[in-house]
């Protein structure tokens, strides 16, 4: 396995819109090793999501290079990017983005639908168990609480056994108790070997990671290890 999972070299991103165009990212250099738990912090509009989208193969850099597992993916076409999104990464969004009027099982199954493999029912059930929602497997998405929805989203991100999970403000729409549960699941997944990249603008949330990268106006302003890491596990935690 490669030493580095992600290597960004002088990555920039401009948007054409507006009169002059917006510079969302400017000259980003960044290395992420397998198994890391990284928080990306910064004020609104600083470019956190843009950075996550590029690392998550949802978007392409306007300049610079992106090496994923030592392979230059900067110029991959849409279909190739869709292919790695399917096998290598899982996303958790602030707005959950579940399919409406669709049950938990079918929501979690979604990435497997687009995989070039035979659909494995066990994998879906395992992922749902992992987030503690097996008893809700046949519930429709609109019958779930916010915290449950986000756990379904995590199960969906997990189901194809990706290398990285990207979570963009996953606790942003949740109460603090549900937010804690989400952070606990992410920490457990990280402990089990998954690389986690968490986008947040809250210091408290960010400190659940091992490393915090701060960006401002599209540039990295600091990149430090967390000294006193928060652990979300409580005595009455979800996982037994």
């Amino acid at each position: 396995m490669a030493d580095l999972l992600i290597k960004l070299v002088n990555v920039g991103k401009q948007y054409e819109s507006g009169e002059s165009g917006t510079v969302a990212l400017n000259d980003i250099n960044l290395d992420i090793k397998p198994g890391e738990f990284v928080s990306i912090m910064g004020p609104s509009g600083s470019g956190k999501s843009t950075l996550m989208h590029i690392m998550g193969f949802l978007d392409k850099p306007s300049s610079g290079q992106y090496f994923y597992k030592d392979q230059d993916v900067s110029n991959f076409d849409d279909d190739k990017l869709a292919g790695i999104r399917n096998t290598e990464v899982g996303f958790v969004f602030q707005a959950f983005n579940l399919l409406q009027r669709t049950n938990v099982y079918d929501n979690v199954k979604l990435p497997l639908v687009y995989a070039n493999k035979k659909l494995d029912k066990d994998k879906v059930e395992m992922a749902i168990k992992r987030v503690g929602l097996f008893h809700r497997i046949n519930n429709l998405s609109n019958q779930l609480s916010g915290g449950e929805k986000q756990r379904v989203a995590i199960a969906r991100a997990l189901v194809n056994d990706p290398s990285i999970i990207f979570a963009d403000e996953p606790t942003g729409n949740l109460d603090s108790k549900s937010g804690k549960q989400i952070m606990e699941i992410l920490q457990d997944l990280n402990a089990a070997g998954k690389t986690i990249i968490l986008v947040t603008h809250e210091q408290e949330t960010a400190e659940h990671a091992q490393r915090i990268i701060k960006i401002r106006d599209g540039q990295i302003v600091s990149d430090e290890q967390v000294k006193e890491r928060h652990f979300a596990r409580q005595e009455d935690g979800l996982r037994k």
């Binding site: 949802l58 978007d59 849409d78 279909d79 292919g83 983005n97 990435p111 995989a115």
Partner: protein, 413 residues
């Protein structure tokens, strides 16, 4: 990714918006049903025409007055009155030296008038023919006899009644030997025809037959015929007889160039071909109009699919985020529109077949000789058209969906 999964996704999406899906389908259902009904009713009407023409036999030829286009209807059919066919023509055509395969010739003229017997009175149609008529049209009197050529030549006032006319005037009483009045002139009933029904597009039972010359002199005041029929000894000799007839009439009319013909000779097959050509054109023209409704239906589908793409922008973004390729999204929406048109098409076919069967049923109940024709061709055509409409009008929305940028789609409110 397996097609069955795409079909499943599409069905779920369509079920989620049941009434909208059905309303969208309606355009296709109506269009396809109309195409099927028009094709079937057209074929049924054609069967009626064919059966009618065959019912008066196929081994005779007909001479119409006036010239006509090669394959067009004779000018007399178009309402022009031409007076070119006279007694001399019938005499010439009866001459074996002129028309060796002709075995019987009669002219026809007709008129309408009041027919009375005692206090019974009806409005009837009289047809003037000569004594060869029974042979030409293969009809035999049921009672009494038909008139002779001498009676025709001597302007005898005799009449053979159609079955219905006899019933209307005499009911169960004996008619032969009685004197009736046609347009106030007295005629002696010498025969009654059997019940024959609709033959060659007319109900022959409601006609009365009188000698053609009597009709001309006494009732019509003319000296021409509206048509002449020549019975041919064998169907194989029809073409030859047409030529003989043309040559005879040209000589008789002192015509040297066929361009100057003042008559038209047609076989029953010619008439059939012309009628089929006209009705075919009509059938396909009507089907084409029905097909336009399919285009309207298709535009409706395109519209609804664009709405669906808009509504489901976030879903599309999510599917792309978890690995859907552009082609997967494209197929998903294309399958959706094809399901709408295909299901609509099948419902339309069923409705079309039911209505066509009803039409045939009603037509037969009205004792028309109408065949129920539902051609596999029409059904295959309707099914293919449905699929094509779905593909064509689904293409633009599907391609819009497939080209959505996943990030913008995920952000879409």
């Amino acid at each position: 990714m397996r097609p069955s999964i795409l079909i499943d996704i599409s069905f779920r999406a369509l079920r989620a918006k049941r009434s909208r899906t059905f309303l969208t389908m309606l355009g296709i259902i109506i269009g396809i049903a109309s195409v099927i009904i028009i094709m079937s009713a057209g074929a049924g009407a054609q069967s009626l025409i064919v059966n009618q023409i065959k019912s008066i036999g196929t081994n005779f030829i007909t001479v119409f007055p006036g010239k006509s286009e090669d394959k067009g209807p004779p000018s007399s059919v178009l309402g022009l009155i031409t007076t070119s066919l006279k007694d001399a023509d019938i005499t010439a055509l009866l001459n074996k030296n002129n028309v060796p395969h002709g075995i019987a010739v009669t002219g026809y003229n007709r008129g309408v008038g009041t027919i009375t017997w005692r206090d019974q009175q009806i409005d009837g149609t009289f047809v003037g023919v000569n004594s060869y008529f029974p042979e030409v049209e293969d009809s035999q009197v049921a009672e009494g006899r038909f008139f002779t050529e001498d009676e025709n030549a001597s302007l005898a006032r005799v009449v053979v009644l159609g079955y219905q006319t006899k019933q209307d005037l005499f009911a169960d009483q004996e008619a032969v030997g009685q004197v009736i009045k046609i347009k106030k002139s007295a005629f002696t009933v010498i025969g009654v025809n059997p019940k024959e029904g609709v033959k060659g597009f007319q109900n022959v039972d409601s006609l009365v037959y009188i000698p053609a010359k009597t009709a001309q002199k006494i009732l019509l005041g003319t000296n021409y015929y509206s048509q002449i029929r020549v019975k041919v000894d064998d169907e194989a000799n029809i073409d030859e007889t047409i030529l003989d007839t043309q040559l005879t009439l040209r000589e008789d009319h002192r015509i040297t160039n066929p361009i100057d013909d003042d008559f038209t000779v047609r076989s029953q097959k010619d008439s059939l071909d012309i009628l089929l050509a006209v009705t075919n054109a009509l059938k396909f023209f009507l089907a084409a109009i029905a097909a336009i409704s399919l285009i309207v239906g298709g535009v409706g589908i395109m519209n609804i699919m664009l709405v669906a793409v808009n509504e489901r922008t976030r879903e599309i973004g999510l599917r792309k985020a978890v690995g859907a390729k552009n082609g997967n999204i494209m197929s998903q929406f294309l399958i959706e529109s094809v399901i709408i048109t295909l299901v609509g098409g099948i419902i339309g076919i069923v409705i079309g077949v039911v209505f066509s069967t009803l039409i045939a049923f009603v037509a037969r109940a009205l004792s028309y000789n109408w065949d129920l024709v539902i051609s596999p061709f029409a059904i295959i055509l309707a099914t293919s058209i449905s699929i094509v409409v779905g593909l064509v009008f689904g293409l633009y929305p599907a391609s819009r969906a497939s080209k959505l940028n996943p990030i913008e789609a995920l952000r879409y409110e």
